[in-house]
Symmetry: C2
Subunit: 138 residues, 2 copies
DNA sequence: GCTAACGTTTACGTTAACGTAAAGTTTGCC
DNA sequence: GGCAAACTTTACGTTAACGTAAACGTTAGC
């Protein structure tokens, strides 16, 4: 077995290690309807679908979304496209998310620009200090 | 006074209206050291500096930062550049923030790409449905 | 057969970020 | 001078997202 085909089942501790979270958190996400692992007797067995979902959860958290929001986003991937009216609603939801993300992009761009400015200032100051010390020592 | 020079003092209710939050929240931010309004007797008087800070707070919240993190970020704007060692530490902090924001950018880009994919699929489906109905009706 | 390692459920505790309510003060206005 | 609007402090309540602990089951290795 050299091919290391993407692993297809996981234990809870295994997932916890991989994502750097606790098993408590993973069970909590299940309680909140974000994960739906299979069972082997009592034990939870996570498939590749859960693995993907957990990745989406962590990404959502990094973006500051609540678990409720994250669930809504994740559910977008599983939407049932049978009803046209549902489809249109679905597309509307997509637009809302998109708009929110666009705002975040702007916020990040602004912030990065300000950080750039601050760092430039600081580097200037550092250079000045360095040159002052050099001249004083020379 | 036609020039509407940027307003320089604000009441708490005024700020609350402008930013779409409650006065309670504004006082809470003060408790946490994010705002430091002047006083006119008992009453808080917010200057342009507080106004700027409140904007930064709201931006930080949109990006999912905690108030502690936001305070750290805001304090970067007021850093005292007297000590070189402090300056270097300061630059390190800037780098950390930058890295975090870069990750968020990536996360957003990924998410937007997936939303694009989902929407394209949906629009396809909608178009198919529409053409089916058109043919059935024709 | 015992002990780790891994897993389970149940339940109470904790922190952040406010909401909500009570009770009082100050100010402009009629 | 009385009332409403805006403000104050104090304090208890609430929600999200887990942490922590207790008490128990099961499986592999020595």
């Amino acid at each position: 077995m050299a091919l290391d085909q993407t692993q297809s089942t996981f234990g809870i501790a295994e997932l916890a290690r991989e994502f750097g979270i606790t098993t408590r958190a993973i069970r909590f996400y299940e309680d909140k309807g974000l994960l739906t692992p299979a069972r082997d007797g009592q034990r939870r067995v996570y498939g590749s679908r859960d693995h993907v979902r957990l990745r989406l959860i962590m990404r959502g958290k990094r973006l500051g979304f609540s678990l409720d929001e994250i669930r809504e986003m994740i559910d977008l991937y599983d939407v049932d496209p049978s009803e046209v009216s549902q489809l249109k609603l679905f597309i509307d939801k997509l637009q809302l998310r998109r708009e929110q993300l666009r705002i975040q992009q702007e916020d990040i761009a602004e912030t990065l620009a300000e950080l750039d400015r601050l760092e430039a200032q600081s580097q200037d100051l550092l250079a000045q200090r360095a040159s002052v010390r050099t001249k004083a020592a020379g």
